[in-house]
């Protein structure tokens, strides 16, 4: 019994490991030699259709034991496992279906959706693109691309595919319209989004996601009454819906009705079987308690929220991975080597990036909003492109090594302009994203922690301003523990790892600045709050653009930032966030021990 059990694949498919996740494709029998199994597969399909799942399962296991690459049997078994809620097995089987039958559109569609549901957008994108390749005239293929690109914060590409769906179907499906509206909301095109929500709602007034998305759009657009009205409608149709309830709490929080918001959250907790909130709700609640000055309770919620998030997602700080990358960057980017490497040329025919660098929650959104209120500067938001380039580099430079060692190819005669190609790839993507418009000579890229790649950025864009937003590290820690973000190798899943990653990255930046001549300017978040005009003038001087008073009224910049900071940035500059770590002084002790050198070097104190 036991020996048999150990042979079974840990994914839970019911197959033996050697027939499942440990399959060696080279050892498979020729497809033709297992053709006599086809009747069995047909019987399995029939049994499955008739609801005889036990029979179907047994037939599939029998077939796959002999012919583990039979897509029909894999598909049926996949459906059975998924219906059983056995997601690891379902995913493994579905991946194998797609692997053995790359032109299987339904399976590809299903896999892309499954990966998107897990938040694995990078892989979901690969399969969605395959879906379009398999079936370029299939509306669902474009719908996949629309959803995934929207989620991956490339809404302009997503919009294109959603509009393809409209064209291909010739219909205005209400759900599609709502999805497109959400996409436009992410682009800050609130009026267009509102019109689509209205149309979608008129056609189908009973779709939960439509109303919820609409409510959130109105909230983001600061139309609090309109948002509340949508939530009221939801309450009438689906009382106690968790999504609606959370949106209600967030809305009340934004209206500064913290007591009411807390009451809503307590009600949510009471509804849960265990009487507890989930990780996101806990952080929401902690932030409300923080606003109310109940700091110890707030910190307890933050800590518990992070603990739950770790437990549920299984994501811990990828310590070794981060240490390894940073060590390699540090040894690669040294002045002696840099002297021998080319720099990309500077394009003058297209807008150029301004990099707004900083740890998540250090004020990069504020700086970006300020800069992009200027008529010459477009808002690029968090562009994933530098990170993409680090992944693409080995292929684009034809290197057997990874990033950053692949840059050694620049020494080859046929790769001397390799950096120009990478630069053009970046600029082309920016153009496709629709960030640029008439009159813009700059655009911002405020992907947090891009400072990890400061060396690469300076090679690609030697003329681009690098604006590094610096803030009291302990304030960043308070912010990191009270919000979720996945940047930085999941470091924010615990206070200590956030501190550790912060220190690593700051030391890496120090290294880059010692080894390279950079067009780099540090901007202190606190100075921005203290003397906004002087800081804005200094930044624009540094960029080389004349001062524009609109930058001082950035909170009137109606553009909606997608990141967690949007609610703050649309308020006037607020002083409350400066040195708020003092409320959490004791709780932060473990971080202080780690961050002490960085705090001193930055000229801050702990008091």
């Amino acid at each position: 019994m036991n020996s048999l059990a150990t042979q079974l694949c840990p994914c839970g498919s019911g197959l033996r490991t050697v027939r499942c996740c440990g399959l060696n494709p080279a050892a498979l029998p020729p497809a033709d030699s297992t053709r006599h199994l086809v009747p069995l597969i047909e019987r399995a399909m029939q049994a499955h259709r008739q609801g005889a799942n036990d029979t179907a399962e047994r037939l599939c296991l029998d077939v796959l034991e002999m012919a583990p690459d039979r897509p029909g049997a894999l598909s049926v078994l996949y459906q059975i496992r998924r219906a059983q809620g056995n997601m690891p097995a379902a995913e493994a089987l579905l991946r194998r279906v797609v692997g053995f039958d790359p032109n299987n559109f339904p399976a590809t569609n299903e896999l892309a959706l499954m990966l998107m549901g897990k938040g694995n957008l990078a892989e979901a994108e690969i399969h969605a693109r395959n879906a379009v390749r398999i079936a370029p005239q299939n509306a669902q293929a474009h719908n996949l691309m629309g959803m995934i690109m929207t989620e991956a914060q490339r809404p302009r590409i997503g919009e294109y595919h959603y509009r393809q769906v409209l064209e291909l179907t010739g219909q205005r499906d209400p759900i599609l319209l709502a999805n497109l509206a959400w996409n436009l909301k992410n682009q800050g095109r609130m009026e267009e989004a509102r019109a689509l929500y209205e149309e979608s709602y008129a056609a189908a007034p009973d779709i939960k996601q439509t109303l919820l998305g609409w409510a959130r759009m109105e909230e983001a657009d600061r139309q609090f009454a309109a948002a509340a009205e949508k939530l009221d409608k939801m309450d009438a149709l689906w009382p106690n819906d968790p999504g609606a309830t959370m949106s209600r709490a967030v809305l009340l929080g934004r209206e500064k009705k913290n007591d009411e918001a807390l009451a809503v959250l307590d009600a949510v907790a009471a509804q849960n079987p265990e009487g507890k909130l989930g990780p996101n709700e806990l952080l929401d609640k902690g932030r409300m308690l923080d606003q109310m000055g109940r700091y110890d309770e707030a910190f307890a919620d933050f800590t518990e929220g992070k603990r739950l998030a770790r437990e549920l997602s299984g994501n811990q700080y990828l310590d070794e991975h981060a240490a390894n990358l940073i060590d390699r960057l540090r040894s690669f980017f040294i002045s002696g080597r840099l002297a021998t490497l080319p720099r990309a040329g500077v394009r003058t025919d297209v807008a150029q990036p301004i990099f707004v660098l900083g740890f998540p929650r250090s004020g990069t959104t504020l700086v970006e909003q300020t800069l992009t209120a200027h008529p010459a500067i477009a808002a690029g938001d968090e562009l994933p492109l530098i990170n993409d380039i680090t992944g693409l580099m080995p292929r684009m430079l034809n290197s057997p090594m990874g990033y950053p060692e692949a840059l050694a190819e620049l020494w080859m005669g046929d790769q001397r302009n390799g950096l120009d190609n990478l630069r053009d790839w970046y600029l082309q993507k920016v153009e496709q994203m629709g960030i640029l418009s008439e009159g813009k000579v700059w655009f911002t890229d405020k992907m947090p922690l891009n400072e990890t790649h400061l060396g690469l950025i300076a090679l690609l864009f030697p003329q681009s301003p690098l604006i590094h937003v610096v803030r009291h590290p302990l304030d960043i820690m308070v912010s990191a523990i009270s919000n979720h973000f996945t940047h930085g190798f999941f470091c924010s899943n615990a206070l200590e790892t956030a501190a550790q990653h912060y220190l690593r990255v700051m030391e890496l930046v120090q290294h880059y600045r010692t080894e390279m001549a950079l067009r780099y300017m540090p901007i202190r978040y606190e100075e921005m709050v203290d003397d906004q005009e002087a800081t804005v003038r200094a930044m624009l001087d540094f960029v080389g653009e004349p001062f524009d008073p609109r930058c001082l009224a950035f909170h009137e910049n109606r553009r909606y930032a997608r990141t967690a900071s949007y609610a703050q940035v649309t308020e006037k500059l607020y002083d409350r966030s400066r040195f708020r770590y003092r409320h959490y002084r004791e709780h932060l002790e473990p971080a202080i021990a780690i961050l002490r050198p960085a705090i001193e070097r930055l000229g801050y104190t702990v008091d």
């Binding site: 002297a339 930046v509 080894e515």
Partner: protein
């Protein structure tokens, strides 16, 4: 004698080696430069006898030579505490105080050493050094002369006398005393022993004259101006010089035979140090040769660096080159070098880019800069003096402590603002804010020992003034370089 194995863990106080023998061993090690060994021996002894004055004193010397100055002071203070006023201890501790910049205590202990041991010329020599550093030059000269009256072969005292005389502008007598620098026992020899004579300025054209690019790169840049004058007397010249400065010398006089290793030296008839040429030339303040520029940057490099700097610095910003530290092995580096942080008053200058030309270990301070004015660390990209010169040509002004970069900018005829210690190197003379050596140099002097803050504030104010939009009055005063006397008071 074989070294005894280094002690491990706690020491058995009953170790059966006579203490006098151990001490002699430690002293031998110290004299032979085996400092780590001396250090562990003395540690061993002091664990057993923590108040033994001679061991404490020797431990202080060893720590001093190992660069552990604070520890050296503590050991020597304890030596004095437990060994009364031994003149030798006082004579040495005063040098520790001086190194730490504690000049009051240095003066006090040196004076007590002289009082206790009035016939020891070395005590007087140390006192002369302290007076020099306190800018009490007459007292320094008097002490050096008293030491020399006791022993006229004391090279160190001659050298101290030379520096004080030169700093006072008494160059005739100063040059003669300055010649003693080659005989200081602790100084590394300038060249391998030779039986060839030192050149006395006599002309000859059949044989080679050997010049030695001695001392630091700044000295080479400054004194290489004499090479054309030498060539009028001896056309065949070979120069022993470091590879870094070779291109500069070739620029100054194309026909030179330059070499870097002594085995490559050609046969020669006589030799001279570059730093000895002012004496042979008979240089006085009123006849200092200064045909500036005598160095020029390569036009192609200037254009390349212009392009690079245009990309790195914001448009329309003034560019101020900065250097805050010299070579750490320089004798007076503690005195002459600053830190990037001391340039604080420059960090908030409007529409100014700081351009760091800093090389060496201090360059890593750029990574910790968080001031408002952009700081561009081109030091990281500088390969050689050709780069430095081309960059300087693209700067509005260079602000530097007393390093070779200042000489380079000045020899290019570019504005070079030098930040000087209270007792500066003799070549910058006293009080004046200009220099007979370089017309584009402007000197900013410390008014208090090792205090840079007011110096930097004056520099910041002067930069503001220089970069202010021209008014009619300023325009009239534009032609000659501003020559104001910010007279420094000696710190007495």
């Amino acid at each position: 004698m074989e070294p005894i194995p280094p002690p491990s863990g706690t020491i058995d106080a009953t170790v059966p080696v006579p203490i006098a023998e151990l001490f002699a061993l430690a002293a031998d090690c110290e004299r032979a430069g085996k400092l780590q060994q001396a250090d562990s021996l003395l540690n061993h002894m002091l664990t057993a006898m923590p108040t033994q004055p001679d061991s404490l004193h020797l431990a202080g010397i060893v720590a001093f030579r190992l660069g552990r100055i604070e520890e050296a002071l503590e050991s020597m203070q304890r030596a004095i505490q437990f060994g009364v006023d031994t003149p030798l201890y006082l004579r040495n501790i005063c040098e520790v105080y001086r190194t730490l910049g504690r000049l009051e205590e240095a003066l006090d202990t040196a004076s007590r050493a002289v009082a206790l041991s009035p016939n020891d010329p070395l005590c007087l020599h140390n006192l002369a050094i302290i007076h020099y550093e306190r800018l009490e030059l007459d007292e320094s000269i008097a002490c050096a002369e008293r030491a020399l009256a006791m022993n006229d072969q004391l090279a160190g005292a001659h050298f101290e006398l030379a520096e004080a005389l030169l700093l006072q502008g008494k160059w005739d007598r100063g040059w003669e005393e300055y010649e003693w620098r080659f005989r200081i026992a602790s100084a590394a020899p300038m060249m391998p022993a030779t039986n060839k004579p030192q050149w006395q300025g006599e002309p000859f054209d059949d044989e080679t004259l050997l010049l030695v690019g001695d001392q630091g790169f700044g000295d080479v840049i400054q004194f290489s101006r004499y090479i054309p004058w030498v060539a009028e007397r001896c056309p065949k010249i070979a120069v022993a010089c470091a590879v870094e400065v070779a291109p500069l010398l070739t620029q100054i006089h194309p026909g030179l035979h330059l070499f870097q290793k002594w085995e490559d030296a050609p046969p020669y008839r006589a030799f001279a140090a570059l730093s000895g040429l002012p004496r042979l030339h008979g240089t006085r303040i009123d006849n200092t040769p200064a045909s500036i520029p005598y160095l020029r940057a390569d036009p192609n490099k200037i254009a390349a660096w212009k392009n690079r700097l245009d990309r790195l610095t914001p448009r329309g910003f003034k560019r101020v080159g900065i250097v805050w530290a010299g070579r750490p092995t320089h004798n007076n580096d503690r005195r002459r070098s600053a830190t990037l942080a001391t340039f604080g008053p420059l960090f908030n200058l409007p529409r100014v880019s700081l351009v760091s030309l800093q090389k060496g270990p201090s360059a890593d301070q750029t990574g910790s800069y968080f001031g408002r004015a952009p700081l561009i660390n081109v030091g990281a990209e500088i390969q050689d003096y050709d780069d430095t010169m081309a960059i300087i040509e693209n700067l509005d002004v260079v602000v530097t402590v007393d390093t070779s970069v200042g000489h380079l900018a000045a020899a290019l005829g570019r504005p070079a603002w030098l930040l000087l210690a209270t007792a500066p190197d003799w070549r910058w003379l006293l009080e004046r804010s200009d220099s007979p050596w370089y017309p584009t140099v402007r000197l900013f002097r410390q008014t208090a020992h090792r205090q840079w803050s007011d110096v930097m504030q004056r520099v910041a104010a002067a930069l503001l003034e220089r970069f202010a939009p021209p008014t009619t009055i300023d325009a009239a005063a534009e032609a000659p370089p501003a020559k104001r006397s910010r007279r420094a008071k000696a710190a007495i």
